[in-house]
Symmetry: C2
Subunit: 276 residues, 2 copies
């Protein structure tokens, strides 16, 4: 942190809550990842749940890759798993109105919010896991993995587009941010064929990962390995439920949009008005 920014933060801290800079500095070092110690998670389905059966992640990836052109990312990811269950076990999977999942393309109707691949996978977790705490753990693991992993990984057997596919780390579960980071890393345009091929392969990656996670969970072997981002802990020490400000909630990687010093300038909150 630059000296000027540190001064600003200190002044802001005093002004906002009467807390000194050192109080906040102490808060910036909480043992935030303590609850992320790897542990095996198990789940006994409730009567409400739709039963999950072990599937082949490779097959999920290939179906998602194929189905992408029929309804984009969320549809492809969701369908990859439901279709296999419908083929192998019939109802109720066969009656699921999968077409509805087309709404999630491009971060929901092209709006650029949550990436459809992870929205679709989270919806699948919702279908098979009617336990808030456990479902949240699986979604968190998937979302952190998405934020931190270089994509795309999938190598299609028969590529729709032959491409020396560049990879990037999305750093965000938001469609438009994920996409922009990929254009930066690849030098490709957002509306080119290669970008579509990237999202097609990314759908395969998320379908693979979701299948792998569900397989592990229902075998009693699931372990969350992606810990909370350190920056989330730092920000939430002040802005989260335990913080002096308590003015937001979330687990998204804050730094993909907010930089430590600029965030306080960019948002016209009390910090900004006091610090400028």
């Amino acid at each position: 942190m630059k000296r000027r920014d540190a001064m600003r933060l200190a002044i802001g801290a005093v002004a906002v809550g009467g807390a000194g800079y050192f109080t906040i500095a102490e808060k910036l070092k909480p043992n935030y990842t303590a609850n992320n110690t790897p542990q095996k998670l198990t789940y006994k389905p409730t009567p409400d749940d739709w039963k999950y059966h072990t599937l082949d992640p490779k097959k999920s990836a290939e179906i998602a890759y194929q189905e992408y052109s029929n309804g984009s990312c969320m549809y492809a990811t969701f369908k990859a798993i439901i279709t296999q269950l419908a083929e192998q076990y019939g109802q109720p999977y066969a009656s699921y109105p999968i077409h509805m999942m087309k709404y999630g393309h491009g971060g929901i109707a092209g709006f650029g919010s949550t990436c459809g691949t992870v929205n679709g996978a989270a919806a699948l977790f919702g279908l098979f896991i009617n336990d808030k705490k456990l479902r949240d753990k699986l979604v968190t693991e998937l979302f952190r993995w998405y934020e931190q992993t270089p994509f795309p990984i999938h190598q299609p057997k028969q590529p729709k587009l032959e491409a020396n596919m560049p990879t990037s780390v999305a750093q965000s579960v938001l469609c438009h941010a994920s996409l922009t980071n990929w254009t930066k890393a690849s030098g490709e345009k957002a509306h080119d064929k290669v970008r579509k091929e990237r999202c097609r392969r990314l759908s395969a990656d998320v379908a693979y990962k979701a299948t792998e996670m569900l397989n592990a969970l229902f075998k009693g072997e699931f372990v969350a390995t992606h810990t909370d981002s350190q920056v989330v802990g730092s920000c939430m020490a002040c802005h989260g439920s335990e913080g002096k400000l308590d003015n937001t909630s979330g687990k998204m990687n804050c730094s993909s949009c907010h930089s430590e010093s600029l965030a306080h300038k960019a948002f016209a909150g009390p910090h900004y008005k006091i610090m400028e």
Copy 2:
């Protein structure tokens, strides 16, 4: 725009694509809202769709308000409409596994991404409208309305929490941003009872709006009234499909996160490196 920022933009424009400042300035005035001229939209359902029947928006709002405590925002919004259809028309609505929608609470498993109310309403549009262009128009209208409207509106018959409920304009469809703007406007904490009551009433508002929109569409009377944000047009003139950069895609209100000058500093893209 401050003079210094204008200079920076001009320098960046020349450096990035060889375009002068005036080229970009011209691009900032495109007729971006031309395709938003109010017009009645109609839709003839396809065999894939689940049929929609006219419902009472007030009843949707009241159900969403009641159901919030059973599964949070996305669940409440989605259930408000499906439950009424199930009660009045039986199958297939009665078999829909509504419990799955619990995944969307707090911007998907508490992650703070897309607000569950609009994720749920968009999912409903997906269920009833299997036409990409039209579905996207409805989602866009709903999302713009959400970005621009002071919430919450709903006045429950029997409030779960008696509160002189402050309102705020979310400016964003993201849960954590919507929530933070409300804490700024209200002075309330993000993890207090009043905030939960705000989200409960917001679920009712979105269920009401979604019902109203679906009613209108299937009567051939739907008119989109919320135009694209001007700032989106400005940003996309360079960053969108027609722009020199073409490095992102989306319709979210850019300025709720990015300020015109700071955005180019906050993101370590070519602008930033060239302009600093």
